[in-house]
C-alpha cells in the first residue's frame, strides 16, 4: 500500500526522535502521584506507547506531579527514564490543565501532544494521525475524543446542549496556540478545569472563535468536524471501534451494561446520533 508520508512516518524510533525536516513535536504524558493507581496507569501507558509507534518524530516527556514521597517519585522517574522520556516535575496545583500549561510554556517545540494519566494508546501511527491533519489539513486542534455533553444542568454558566468540545485526555495542537489560550486563565478550582474543557471560553471555543478548525481524529485517521462527531465511532458510540486513545471514561463505557451505555450515549450525543437530526446551522462548524 502506498504511504504518501513515508518520509516522516518511519517506524524506526531513531528516525522518530531526530528528524530535522519536520516540525518539532513534544509528546507529554501527565502522571499524578496523588492518584492511588498511578503506577498501573503509568505502566499501561508505557506499554501502549512501546507497542504502538507514533509514526511521527517526537520527543516524549512525562509530567510528574503530586508525588507524596521520594520513593514513589524515583520509581516513576525510573519507569519513564528507561524508555527515553524527558522528566519534568511540576507542582500539584491548578489541576491537569495547569500542568499542561506550565509544561508547554517551558518547551521550545512547535507542536505538543498531551495525554492524561489514564490514557492508553490503541493503534499504531497515533501521532501521525494527529499531525497529518494539523499540518496538511490546517486543523488547529485535534483530539482523540469529543463530546456534546454539558454541565449546564449543574452550573448555568456552561453552554446548553449540544455543547461541542474536544475532550482533553489526548489532544494535539500548536504549542504557541495552547500557551496563548491558557495565558490569562487561573486554575484554582475544579470548576476552572471544567470550564477550560467545556465552558463558554473553553479551549475548543477559543480556537473556533479565532476562526480555526477543531476535529476529532479516529483510528481510521479521519478528522471529523463537529457535525460528524456523533458518527465518528469514537467516544461513547457503539463499541467505540474507531477510538485510538482510550482513557478511564471510555473504559467505563466499555464495561457498562447496555442500558448504561445508552444513557451515556444519550447524555453525550442526544438525538444527534441519528442521521436525520443534524446539528442546527449555527453549530455546523465542520467546514
Amino acid at each position: 500500500m502506498t504511504d504518501c508520508f513515508d518520509a516522516i512516518t518511519s517506524r524506526d524510533p531513531a528516525v522518530e526522535r531526530c528528524s530535522n525536516d519536520v516540525p518539532s513535536t513534544a509528546v507529554g504524558f501527565l502522571l499524578r502521584g496523588a492518584d492511588e493507581n498511578w503506577l498501573p496507569s503509568a505502566r499501561r501507558f508505557l506499554a501502549s506507547f512501546k507497542a504502538h509507534p507514533g509514526g511521527f518524530p517526537h520527543v516524549p516527556h512525562v509530567m510528574l506531579k503530586g508525588f507524596a514521597d521520594q520513593i514513589a517519585l524515583s520509581e516513576a522517574e525510573q519507569e519513564f527514564r528507561k524508555e527515553g522520556f524527558v522528566i519534568r516535575h511540576l507542582d500539584d496545583d491548578g489541576f491537569d490543565i495547569m500542568a499542561y500549561a506550565r509544561w508547554a510554556q517551558d518547551l521550545d517545540s512547535e507542536y505538543i501532544c498531551v495525554f492524561n494519566t489514564h490514557s492508553e494508546i490503541l493503534a499504531d501511527n497515533w501521532l501521525a494521525r494527529f499531525m497529518r491533519n494539523i499540518i496538511q489539513n490546517g486543523i488547529a486542534m485535534v483530539s482523540a475524543t469529543a463530546s456534546f455533553e454539558t454541565l449546564n444542568h449543574v452550573w448555568s454558566i456552561f453552554p446548553p446542549f449540544p455543547n461541542m468540545h474536544l475532550r482533553s485526555n489526548a489532544f494535539c495542537l500548536r504549542r504557541e496556540l495552547f500557551v496563548q489560550c491558557v495565558a490569562d486563565l487561573t486554575f484554582q478550582k475544579k470548576l476552572d478545569a471544567f470550564l477550560f474543557e467545556s465552558g463558554p471560553r473553553s479551549l475548543t471555543t477559543q480556537i473556533i472563535n479565532a476562526g480555526k478548525r477543531v476535529a476529532v481524529v479516529g483510528r481510521d485517521g479521519r478528522a471529523y468536524g463537529p457535525r460528524w462527531w456523533p458518527f465518528s465511532g469514537t467516544f461513547r458510540q457503539g463499541t467505540q471501534s474507531n477510538l485510538f486513545v482510550a482513557d478511564n471514561v471510555t473504559r467505563a463505557y466499555d464495561e457498562a451494561e447496555r442500558s448504561e451505555k445508552i444513557r451515556l450515549a444519550a447524555a453525550t450525543w442526544g438525538d444527534y446520533l441519528n442521521e436525520d437530526c443534524p446539528l442546527p446551522s449555527k453549530h455546523s462548524l465542520a467546514r
Partner: protein, 1150 residues
Amino acid sequence: MPSETFRDLFEAHRGKASDKWDLYLKVYEEIFAPLRDKPMTLLEIGVQNGGSLDILADYFRNAKAIVGVDINPQCASLPFESERISVIIGDAKSGKTREGISSRAALFDVIIDDGSHVSNDIIATFFHLVPLLGDNGIYVVEDMHASYWKEYGGELFAPYSAAAFFKTLTDVLNHEHWSLNKPPADLLQPFANRVQAALPMDHLERIESITFLNSICIMRKTAGERTTLGARRITGRESNIAKIERFEAFSRKAELHSAEDYFRAWQPQPPLEALAAKARLVADLKQQMADHIEQVVGPTRERPATHQRTREQNNGWMQVRKQKRSLAEQLNHAQQQIGEQSRMLIEFRQEADQLRHHLMQMHQSSSWRLTYPLRLAKRVIRFSWHLQHAFFSNGSFLVSFGFRLLSQMLTEPDLAEATMHRVHTDADLRSEIMQTVGMTPAEYAALSALARHMEKGYRALRTTGRRLLLSRLLSGATRAYQGVRQRGVRFHLDEPQGIIVPTRRGVVFRGWAVDTNTKEAAEVRVFAGGQPVRVDRYKRGDVTAAFPDQVSKNAKAAFEAKVALRGRSTWVRVELASAPDRWVLVHRALLRLVGSIEATDLRSKRTGDSAEWFDVLQNHLAAQIDEMREHIDTMILRPAFLVIIDARKSGHNLDVTIGSLRAQIYRAAGVVVLGRDRPDDDNNRIQLAPAVSDETVQWIDRLDVCAPLFANLDYLLFIEPGDRIVPSALYSFASAINRDPTSELIYSDELFPTSSGAPLPFHKPAWSPDYLECFDYIGHSGVFSMARARRLSLPFTSVYDFTLRFTDSLGHDLVAHLDDLLFERAAPFARKMTGDDDVAAILGRLERTGRNGIVAPAPSGINCYHARVRWERAPEISVVIPTAGYTKLIAGRDIDLIVNITQQIVERSTYRTAEIVVVDNGDLNECQKNHLAKLGCRSVTFEEQAFNIAKKLNLGASVAKGELLLLMNDDMEIVQEDWIERLCDHMAKPDVGVVGCKLLYPDRSTQHVGVIHYHGNPDHVRRGYPADDAGYFNSTCGVRNYLAVTGACMLTRRALYQQLGGYALQLAVSYNDADFCLNVRAAGYRVVYTGDVALVHMESLSRVPSANLDEVRYYHERWTPKLPEDPFYNERFLTLAPPSFEPRTNDRLL
C-alpha cells in the same frame, strides 16, 4: 348328606352370574358345613345378578329363608326358582330395610355382607344387622381388601376403615384383660359416631370370635350374654419348672387403676378423633403441597390460566424493577450532582469572603467610579442571558432535591418491601409511597407533579438543550376533563407532556382512556392543525389491571396517534368522548420545529421505509464528501483497489457500473472487465459509452491474481455489470483498512431492486463462515486482500468459489463487516438459472476441508445449499433429555412426553445414537420406567427439590458417554428421519461448538430459527412464519451463525461442555442455553443454526417467554457489556419487536 361341596355347586352353577374369590369357596365350605342341613336362615347384603343367592339356596337345601338385600331396584325383577329366596330393595343401613328383613326372619344364622365394600357402609351395616344375628350365628364380610383402598374409604393406617373397626372389635372381645376401668363402648363409640349409628353393645359383647383371612372377616356370636375367658383351670400337681400358684387371683386391675397408669395406657394411643383430625390435616397439607407444586411447576406445563397469571405477575415485577432501576439511576446521578454542588458551595463561600474584601477595596477606587457607565451597558446586554440561566440553575437544584427525597423513600425498608412485593400499577406505587412517608394525596400530587416536570425539563435540558420547564408546568387536563372524570371516564396521556413540544419531524401521542361505566375504552380523537389524525387503539394490560372490576380485560384502552409536524408549528388537540357525540378537550399541545428549516434538509421521516432511508443515508454520506476527500489526502495507508467486472455472462449496462466507479471519491487503481469475448453474438457484445471507454479500463478473458498486471494492487473487488457502487464505497473500504490494516476481507451491505419498486436492503451479519458455506452472502460486495489471494494462488471459476477458497482458513479477526449500504444491485435477489457453479464451489470446500459429502439445494431457498457429510466413523452421540414425566394434551391427544420422544428417537431416526440419558425427578410411573428400560435408556434421577434445569442437564451430561451431546426437551416430535445426521454435518467443522435447528409449533409455524440479542435480551428470530419460509436471505432455510440457539434441541461437544462447566447453575430456568452458547463463542467456537433439520416443539403458540429477574440481571451483567449489539442482526435497520428480519429503521441508541 349331599356330596357336593360349596365349590362344586359354585362351579356347576349356570344362569345368573356370581363371582367369589377362590379362597372364599374353601372358607365357606368350612364354616357353612355344620349348618348345611339345618333349617337355617341366611341374609346376604348385595344381590348383584342373583347368582350367589341361587348357589346358597342350593347349598342350604333346608334353609327356611334366604334373603337378599340390594339398593339397586333392578334386583327386584330377578326371577328365582326357589321360593325360599326373596329380595329386599333398600339400603341395608336404613330402618325401613331392617323392618323388611325382620319380616322375612326374626334372626339369621348367617349374614353375608357383600355390599358396597365401602368401610363406612360395612361398619354401619354391621351395627344395624348384628342384632339380627342369632345365637351361634356367623357374620361374614367379604372383600375386606377394599378397606385398604382410599376410594373405598380406607387405607393401611386409616383409623376408620372396616379393617380398623374389626381389629378394634378384637380389643372389645378382650375387654376383660384391659386392666382399665374403661367400658368397651368407649373404644367403639368413635366408629358409631362416624357412621351415625347406635352402638349395639349388648350384641357386640356377644361376639366370641373374629377370624381374619385374606380379604374376608368372619365373626361368630355366642349363645350366651357375653364371651368370657372363664375360670382358670389347672390339672396335674407337679410344677417343677414354672411354679403355678393355685390360689392366685388372675387380676391386675388393682395395680393399674391409678390415674397415671390410665394415661400411660391410653394417651400414647391417639384417640380416633385425634387420628381423624390428623388425617384431615395430612390431607389438607397434601392438597396445599399439590397446590404449591402446581404453582411452581404449573407454568412449565403451560397451563393457560397459570401461565397468564405468571405472566401478569412478571409484567408487574418488570415494571416495578424497571421503575426502581430508573429511579436508582436518576438518584445516583442526582447524588453525584449534590455532592459536587456541596463541595463547590464550600469553595465558593471561601472565595466569596476573599472577593468581598477585594471588592470593597476596588469599589473605593476612583477608576472604578469613572468606568461605571461602561459596566452598566455591559450589564444590560447580558441581563436576559443571566436571567435564563439563573432560572434553570434553580430548576436543577429542585430536581436534585426531588431525587434526594425519592432516595429517602426508597431506602425505607418498608417501602422497598412494598415496592418489591405489592406494587403492580402506578396507582399502587403512589399509594405505597404516600402510606410510607405519611403524605396526603394532595401533597403527593403537588410534589410528584413538580418532580415530573423538573425531571422532564432536566432531561430535555441535557439531551436537546431545550428548556421545557415552562411548558411542563403549563400542561395538564382541562377543566372540562375534571367533570368527565367525575363521571367515571378516565384519561391519561403518557407522552408527550406539556403544551410546547419541540420536535424535528412529528410526535406520537400515546396514552389510554377508559369509561368505567361501560367498562370499555373511551373514544379519543386527535386533531393536528384542525385536521383529524388517525388514532390506533390496542389493549394494555397494566391499564386493565389497574381497573380490575371497572374495565373489561379485552378493552382496547391504549391509544396512539402519529402527528406529523406541518410547517414550523402545529397545534394539536386531543379530545375525549364524554358521551355519544359529546367531546371534551383533554389536552392541547403545540409542536414546534427544532432548529432551522435548513437543518431539515437531510431529515426524513423515520417511518421504517428503507428506500427513504437509503436516500437519507446517501445524503448523509454526500454531505461528508469534502471531509472524506480531506481524509483521503492524509490517509496513512492508501490501498490500491482492483475492480473486476465479471461480464462473462452478460455485459448489459456495463457503462453504468463503470460510471459509478468513476464517481468514486477514492479512485480504484485498476478496473478490469472479465469476459470481453463473451457472448459471441454481435447483439450482446459488450458496448461501452464513449465517455467511459477510455484506456483506464482493461479487458481480460481470464483472471490470474498472480499476473504481473495486478502486481501492485492491494485489494480486489468483484462486481457485476449493471451494479452500482455508492460514491463513498471505495473510500469506506480504504478507511476500514486504515482503521485495521490487518483486515484481509471486508464486506458491506447491499441493496437489491424488487418488482414492487421498493428496494430490498441486505443487512448482513458479521463474519459468518457457516452461512457462507450455504449461500454466497458476501458475493460482489467485498474486497479481498490480493496478498492473500496471491499467496494461495487462487484459481478462479466463480466469485463464490473464489470467496470460499479465500476463506478456507481465514481467521475471524481478519474479516471486517461494514454495515453501510455501499452497493446497489442491478438484478433482484432471485434464483440463478443453474446452481452448478455454486454446488461445485461448495463441493470444493468440502474436499479442501477434509469432508466427504454431497451438496443438496435448500428446498425453499434462493441459491442456497446444504453440505451433507458422509462420515467415515459417525460420532457417538448421547441424547440427554430432562423430563418431569408429564403427559400433555396436544391436538386432542394425551401424549406422555418422555415415552413419546424416546420412542421416536429410536424408531424414527436413522442415526444409531450411543445412548439416551433421561434425567427425571424420581417420579416417573412404572409404565414410563418400563418403557425407558425396554428402549435401553439410561435414567438418572435429579434429587434436589428446587427446580433447576441447568443442574438437571449438567447431571445428565456428567453420565453421558458420547463424544457429542444432544440436549433436548421432552416435548419434541421427530418429523425427519435424518435429523441427527444433518445436525452432525456441522460438527465435522472443528470450530463449530453448538448446532441448533429449526423448531416448529404444532401448527407447523416456526418457533425457533435462531436466537438474536436485542436490547441485551435473547429472543427468537422470525417466530410464527410458515415452516417452508426461506427467511431473510435464506436465514431460515439455510445455515446461519448466531450468538445463540435454543436449548430445546442443541448439539454440542461433550468435551467442550465439560470444559465450560456446562450450563450456569445461576440460571435455573431462563437464559441458560443462550448463556452457554455465548460461553462457547467466548471459547473460540461458533454457534450454528441449520434449516436442514426441523423438529416439532410442542410448545404453546400463545406462550409468552417469561424470565426470573435475578437471572435476567445475572445475564445482563455478564454479557451486555461485551455485547451491546448483536453482530449477527442489524438492530438499527431490521425490526426488533419482534425480531423478524423485516427491514425497518430504528432509532440509533448507541
